[in-house]
């Protein structure tokens, strides 16, 4: 009887002990990181940012490197999604935002109020979206936007369709059903991909650019990794995903001007470099309308362009110094090299990088 009651007491006892121990462990960690703050170098404190999930890997790379250079600084980038990132920046909850689309005119008014003046908006993360396919025996595929649109809209259903064969002489195409793969979750990748189709082949792709994929019926998978896995696993599939994540999959070369261009970091950077800047914006705001229809040789127009958004002047000195330091690092050659090697993104073209560097250098405290 006695033994039994001891055994009964033991279970919650052990649980309580475990709880206590984990609580101690956690408090140790925080206190040790606080201690590190004292021995910091130039920048210190807490820098809060957030927004686009597309920047996740790049932000991780920049954050790790920059925190290593400034041991007193803690950078926190929350993956809120672009829309929430911008709205939390304009409400003052975040010091900076990451966003897949540039700030809209309505948001700009609120942002100007929050900043007591101009905002800073620079491209920071460029990535090609590869249109990857898996068809046994086919290593190379060239398609124009109209054909891609028809495939993803379910209008072209066989791999040996005349529209595909005409653009790929010398390639033996199988009599196989095409299974287009799209994202099941809402995503900036989908928005940029559908924007490309809508701009370049408006008569074959009537849906406006949107985070949610507009056509029902094809295969879908969650996240970039899910799409890549689905394409890898199934013969006859074609889908779009961040080029840095497609691994060994073959990618479609898309028609630009008269030539076919394969996805590459250089091609993506080139598209941004030749795209026009939105007119009527302040000098510190490089909002770019990505020119999907460009005929520039070597430019790859199916890209995702993500921005950093901050204020030109901050009331708080430390906040200004932190944002300035972090932004300067990101658009510097070292920062771009870091994200390029870790996240597989494209480095900014030299002229774009120069412009961005000049702009973020103007960030100051009031």
């Amino acid at each position: 009887m006695n033994l039994k009651s001891i055994r009964r007491a033991a279970v919650p006892g052990v649980a309580a002990l475990a709880l206590l121990m984990s609580a101690c462990g956690a408090s140790n960690e925080t206190s040790s990181s606080d201690n590190n703050g004292d021995s910091g170098t130039s920048l210190s404190g807490n820098l809060k940012g957030g927004g686009a999930t597309s920047q996740e890997k790049a932000q991780e790379a920049w954050k790790t490197k920059f925190q290593g250079m400034n041991s007193g600084l803690t950078i926190d980038y929350s993956l809120l999604g672009s829309t929430d990132g911008r709205s939390q920046f304009t409400s003052g909850a975040l010091s900076f935002a990451g966003s897949d689309s540039y700030i809209s005119d309505d948001e700009l008014k609120k942002a100007n109020e929050r900043c007591n003046g101009d905002i800073v908006e620079v491209p920071a993360y460029i990535s090609s979206i590869a249109i990857a396919f898996n068809v046994k025996g086919v290593d190379k595929l060239q398609l124009d936007a109209a054909t891609i649109a028809k495939i993803f809209d379910g209008k072209i259903t066989k791999w040996n369709d005349k529209a595909i064969a005409d653009q790929n002489s010398g390639v033996t195409l199988p009599d196989l059903k095409i299974s287009p793969v799209h994202r099941a979750d809402d995503s900036g990748t989908t928005k940029n991909f559908t924007d490309y189709l809508n701009k370049v082949a408006p008569s074959d792709w009537k849906y406006p650019a949107a985070d949610a994929f507009p056509v029902s019926g094809g295969l879908s998978a969650e996240g970039t990794s899910g799409v890549v896995k689905q394409i890898t696993d199934t013969n006859g599939t074609i889908g779009y995903a961040d080029a840095s994540q497609t691994g060994d999959l073959k990618a479609v070369s898309v028609k630009v001007g008269d030539a076919y261009v394969a996805p590459s970091p250089e091609g993506a950077a080139k598209t941004v470099a030749v795209s026009p800047v939105v007119s009527g914006r302040e000098a510190t705001d490089i909002a770019v309308d990505v020119d999907r229809t460009t005929a520039e040789a070597g430019a790859y127009p199916v890209i995702l362009l993500s921005y950093l958004i901050g204020c030109k002047t901050y009331t708080d000195k430390a906040e200004a110094a932190n944002v300035k330091g972090y932004f300067e690092f990101i658009v510097s050659d070292a920062g771009q090299a870091e994200s390029s090697s870790f996240a597989g993104s494209a480095k900014l073209a030299p002229e774009t990088a120069k412009k961005a560097q000049d702009i973020v250098a103007q960030i100051s405290a009031k």
Partner: protein
């Protein structure tokens, strides 16, 4: 409620003249226990009410948003939630069709057929299935099972497809196997342990005397089970199925990962793309959503909450009616 008045009455009585058998300390213990039990019960009710109030407040505006919020596949709330409801209930129905007979069978084997040395380990392993996180089922279902089921999909389409009526369920098969049928199979495995564990318990609670009486009258073992075990366990069996259904309706990760999502309602359960479940849709859309869409998602959550209640009430009502008839 009754317990509480009972206890206060008894303590009042105890203050006047303690009964010979009751110690004062015992009275305090009683009061603490009844208070704690009442608190536990009320906490559940408060939590349920809290969830309902949250869903109703946050989701209220979700029913009547501008048409483009529901886009690109629908233009009204009904159009948005309709396919999701169909997806939710189809996947759950497939799961129940597979899991219920299997679970009842396993429970019977464990409680009545198998010798003890087999029954105990089998029961243990089935219980272990419940401990596997749903993400793991999702990974397994999406990355392993789905591909392995592709030949089965093709077979079903070729052999059952031409049959009228039933054939509608097995139309053009998916090349990837990530279909409602596969999602239903994964769900079935997930709800199997709950249904098995509960039915096993109620089966083994059948009074020995009933069973022996049936056997003494010359019933075979199966007849004995039909005449004594099933009638005695009916309400427990329904409870078990309801708990399983509840889990299947609300299951999120596994469906999110397994199913290839579309928005067209069709009879074909092996189609390339099928409407997903409400819970899975919330998980998919939550990350990159506008503030308006969030309200819509919460509103769909409210619909699921109410549907689950409704299904439970109907099942309870059916059980209650059949038991009253049996008592007569």
């Amino acid at each position: 409620m009754q317990g509480r008045t009972d206890v206060t009455a008894r303590t009042a009585e105890a203050e006047d003249a303690p009964a010979s058998w009751a110690s004062v300390r015992g009275g305090v213990g009683d009061r603490i226990f009844s208070g704690a039990a009442l608190l536990a019960g009320l906490t559940i009710l408060a939590a349920l009410a809290g969830v309902f109030i949250f869903l109703a407040l946050k989701g209220a505006t979700g029913f009547t948003k501008a048409a483009d919020v529901y886009g690109p596949h629908a233009s009204s709330f009904l159009g948005y939630v309709g396919p999701l409801l169909v997806g939710t209930f189809t996947a759950s129905a497939i799961a129940l069709v597979i899991a219920v007979p299997l679970a009842f069978g396993i429970a019977l084997v464990i409680s009545h057929y198998a010798p003890r040395w087999i029954a105990a380990p089998v029961a243990y392993v089935i219980d272990l299935l419940a401990a596997v996180p749903s993400v793991v089922y999702g990974l397994w279902g999406a990355f392993y099972l789905a591909q392995k089921l592709v030949p089965m999909h093709v077979w079903l389409h070729e052999h059952l497809g031409p049959i009228p009526l039933i054939g509608k369920l097995f139309g053009e098969p998916s090349p990837a196997g990530r279909t409602l049928l596969t999602a239903g199979i994964v769900l079935a495995i997930m709800i199997l342990p709950i249904i098995t564990a509960i039915t096993r318990e109620v089966f083994s609670r059948t009074p020995r005397l009933h069973q022996e009486a049936a056997l003494a009258l010359g019933a075979t073992r199966w007849e004995m089970i039909r005449m004594t075990v099933f009638p005695y366990s009916r309400s427990g069996m329904v409870s078990a199925v309801m708990l399983g259904l509840g889990r299947a309706l609300g299951e999120t990760m596994a469906v999110t990962m397994v199913l290839s999502v579309g928005f067209n309602i069709s009879w074909n359960i092996i189609a390339t793309a099928s409407p997903t479940s409400i819970a899975a849709n919330i998980a998919l859309k939550y990350k990159e959503r506008s503030a308006d869409l969030l309200n819509v998602l919460v509103a769909t959550g409210l619909v699921l909450f109410l549907m689950t209640f409704l299904v439970n009430f109907i099942a309870r009502w059916i059980v209650g009616r059949s038991e009253r008839r049996m008592a007569r």
